[in-house]
């Protein structure tokens, strides 16, 4: 199922386990009634159990190192979930034009130039003249070769799946500002009236028909002209009609005028006592009859302020339940003519605002609309606690520089994993672990910071899950030298052993002679370099078929070790505020720093012999 396996490391952001951000963590064992009990058993669920990388929730709290940032002031890891983001720039990912945020308000979240995606295959669409053909792949349909020789008309075509806007009957007069043109075009090419146009049209119609119009529209008999109007009453128009209607209702509810505060209070009541109703009680209704209690006086007066929409201008639309045409079409078009789920997903409701009867849905390929590119953003990130900026890109769309970029990778050690293959022992495919056959891996910790760090590792003896494998970290505690400049590596190499003697006496054994000859041993470091140390982890994979063969869930054959990493180091008080506060006395005391987190080591897949 998976390609040749490459070991990996995921880190759990500390923000996720404890309920940070004064978030009452949700009850983990459900009860419909008593809540406090929920919180209790929830807490121990969060804290006391060892971290299980395979628990579904873990997928939400684990990140590769690259995704993590670091707050220098809080000395804490920050993950995408716990940083506070601010948008620096909006731009279109296709034309790479920057979009001012004011346009965003008025024109929405998509590119309003000519950047579209294919509704069929999501590939990019390009504007092509029906006459000249810039690219053999992109030759448009010559269905009207008699068109103007100079350029137009223009169409959108997909260079991947060969979809062309002619398939939904759409052509353009100009090669530019397609978005604006498309807004005025309905599939099939009929003009699509703007809200205003529609309004006026209905007005005259209503006048010409006089009062009978509204009556008819209100009644159950949709008369002929009503039908024809219905065709035009698309979602957007109905929405704006409704909104206007309610606004007017609110307005004459309180003659004070349209002051938002006033209308809010006036209208607030209109729905205000909804809070009292429980769906099943009819008492409310009865109360209306015998208007006794105080709230019903209020209710009367307030509810009185709203009436019901009566005609199309007010947003009332009689549903047309007759879908026989659609059904006939379905039979004609068959599976191929219908829209797939993924295509439907990309057709967001907005695209169909103007399409009557679709009401946001689309079913047939002929109803697909080209998809304007969603805008993209550049965002800066802050520490949620101290509000310091921890990442800030430059605003210009085309520059890739960052003003600030505090990535966790330059503060916490990186962990790389490789299967340990002793020169004599020939392991055919180290990534394939055999059940109950011990395998050894070399973990290399690389220290990015300029102080030496002390690392303490802890792993459960058995991995959690249905198939517990044995895990032994041969050297759970060690120091790593500082990340000094390269050129004095040589000197350091000399005094390294002396310096780290006390805790590393065993490690010396690990270093004399060619490292690859010696066997891994408990308490021994495997290898060490300027700012890195590698140790050995031994695992005994569990058998996937005990007691009996079972259906494996996805990745259950994956051997993942949860590992708790604690890093301790010392910095001098100067240079960061927090330190200055603590160590006021002048003799620059060394400050102890500590960072601890869970991480997950993916070692390999256990073969199901």
């Amino acid at each position: 199922m998976a390609p040749p396996f490459t070991p990996y490391t995921f880190i759990q952001c500390p923000c996720s386990d404890s309920s940070t951000f004064n978030r009452r963590s949700p009850p983990s064992t459900p009860t419909t009634h008593h809540f406090h009990s929920d919180n209790d058993d929830n807490d121990d669920d969060d804290d006391e159990h060892p971290f299980d990388p395979r628990a579904p929730r873990s997928n939400y709290s684990l990140f590769p190192l690259e995704y993590l940032l670091y707050c220098e002031d809080c000395h804490q890891i920050r993950c995408p979930r716990c940083v506070a983001e601010e948008i620096v720039t909006y731009y279109c990912p296709s034309c790479l034009f920057e979009v001012p945020s004011s346009n965003l308000k008025s024109e929405g979240n998509r590119c309003t130039r000519s950047c579209f995606q294919c509704p069929v295959c999501i590939g990019p669409l390009s504007v092509t003249s029906l006459e000249s053909h810039p690219d053999p792949n992109l030759i448009p349909a010559p269905d009207n070769t008699s068109a103007a020789p100079h350029g137009g008309p223009y169409i959108l075509i997909c260079s991947h799946c060969a979809w062309s806007s002619t398939e939904v009957g759409i052509q353009f007069d100009k090669p530019n500002s397609i978005h604006a043109q498309l807004a005025k075009l309905r599939n099939g090419g009929n003009p699509r009236m703007t809200a205003k146009e529609r309004k006026e049209r209905r007005k005259d119609l209503a006048q010409s028909l006089g009062s009978s119009y509204s009556a008819a529209s209100g009644s159950g008999y949709p008369s002929h002209f009503a039908d024809e109007l219905d065709l035009d009453l698309d979602l957007e128009t109905q929405f704006s009609n409704l909104k206007l209607f309610y606004q007017s209702q609110l307005a004459n509810a309180n003659p004070g005028g349209g002051a938002s505060g006033g209308s809010a209070s006036g209208s607030g009541g209109a729905f205000g006592d909804l809070g009292f109703t429980s769906p099943t009680s009819l008492s409310r209704i009865l109360n209306i009859y015998t208007s006794t209690s105080s709230q019903d006086k209020k209710a009367k007066s307030r509810i009185g302020t709203m009436r019901e929409a009566l005609d199309r201008d007010e947003g009332l639309k009689i549903a047309n339940l007759d879908e026989s045409e659609a059904i006939a079409k379905l039979h004609a078009e068959d599976h191929a003519g219908t829209v797939s789920t993924s295509q439907l997903l990309n057709q967001t409701p907005q695209l169909h605002l103007g399409e009557p009867h679709l009401h946001g849905r689309s079913r047939f390929a002929s109803e697909l609309r080209p998809i304007p590119y969603l805008l993209r953003t550049k965002r800066s990130k802050r520490c949620p606690i101290c509000r310091h900026i921890i990442s800030k890109p430059e605003a210009k769309v085309l520059t890739t520089r960052f003003r600030i970029r505090l990535v966790a990778g330059s503060y916490i050690p990186s962990i790389t994993i490789r299967p340990l293959s002793l020169p004599n022992a020939s392991t055919p495919d180290p990534s394939a672990l055999r059940p109950s056959k011990p395998a050894q891996f070399v973990l290399t910790f690389k220290n990015p910071i300029f102080e030496p760090v002390k690392i303490t590792l802890a792993t459960p003896a058995l991995t959690p899950g249905r198939f517990p494998s044995k895990v032994t970290v041969l050297c759970p505690q060690f120091d790593i030298d500082a990340n000094t400049d390269v050129w004095d590596e040589a000197l350091k190499d000399g005094d390294k052993r002396r310096k780290k003697g006390e805790s590393m006496d065993s490690a010396t054994g690990g270093n004399n002679g060619g490292q690859h000859q010696h066997q891994p041993a408990a308490g021994k470091i495997w290898e060490r370099g300027r700012n890195w140390v590698s140790i050995v982890v031994e695992v005994v994979p569990a058998s996937l078929r005990k007691p009996m063969p079972v259906v494996l869930k996805e990745d259950e054959d994956l051997l993942e070790i949860p590992m708790f990493v604690r890093i301790e180091w010392e910095t001098d008080a100067m240079g960061d505020e927090v330190g200055a506060v603590l160590g006021k006395d002048r003799d620059l005391p060394k400050l102890k720093r500590e960072l601890a987190y869970w991480c997950v080591l993916g070692l390999g897949r256990v073969s199901d012999q």
């Binding site: 069929v120 295959c121 053909h133 053999p136 030759i139 448009p140 349909a141 010559p142 269905d143 075509i157 991947h160 799946c161 060969a162 979809w163 062309s164 002619t166 398939e167 191929a336």
Partner: protein, 204 residues
């Protein structure tokens, strides 16, 4: 900036020798363009018709049967026409003159594409995308478009004007641009004629 290799500027390319095989009998139209680094091997005849272009390192293999290439086809580098199929879709083994692969006119076989042998037919104007694979005995219709890395199973039949996209999805090409595409192909061939030093004699 420096030229890739100072010395190789005399030899205008670095072309390591390609593995060779039996030299097949060929029938070339006088107007074809075939790079001398193209690879033609096999025992059955290879026919290339008017104005077709065979790019360097393109591989025509007639071991499985005769290779017929229509007019104004373009066979790009690294592509294989007549590859010996993994699934033995060759239904005409018994015949002494079996058909390996037949390309109609205006067929384009893109880079790294491979068309397996065994009476495989690719219709006129069809575009076989980069890295695509057409199984032996498959019949691809006219003016089809196989997007990159499309796989057509052995023995499968693809109707005319089919577009195979997004890893196997299919739809009809309603642009009706067949002849325009062919025109474009002709233009491209004019240019390639000038660029690719043709050396038919090497194979005759």
């Amino acid at each position: 900036m420096a030229a890739a290799t100072t010395s190789s500027s005399k030899r205008h390319s670095i072309l390591p020798p390609a593995q060779s095989g039996p030299k097949p009998p060929v029938q070339f139209s006088s107007s074809i363009t075939i790079a001398d680094s193209a690879i033609l091997i096999g025992t059955h005849p290879i026919t290339i018709s008017t104005e077709s272009v065979i790019h360097p390192r393109a591989r025509l293999d007639s071991l499985g049967g005769r290779i017929t290439i229509g007019r104004r086809c373009i066979v790009h580098e690294r592509s294989t026409v007549g590859a010996v199929g993994t699934e033995g879709g060759s239904r005409s083994k018994r015949e002494e003159q079996p058909n390996g692969v037949t390309l109609g006119d205006y067929v384009t076989v893109e880079v790294n594409a491979s068309i397996e042998t065994g009476d495989t037919v690719v219709g006129e104007g069809t575009h076989v995308g980069v890295g695509s694979k057409i199984g032996g005995g498959a019949v691809v219709g006219k003016h089809c478009t196989l997007t990159p890395y499309t796989v057509v199973a052995a023995g499968e039949t693809i109707p005319d004007y089919t577009v195979i996209y997004s890893n196997g999805l299919r739809r009809q090409d309603r642009r009706g641009v067949a002849e325009l595409r062919n025109k474009g192909q002709a233009r491209q061939i004019e240019v390639l004629k000038r660029m690719i030093p043709s050396n038919p004699s090497k194979f005759q």
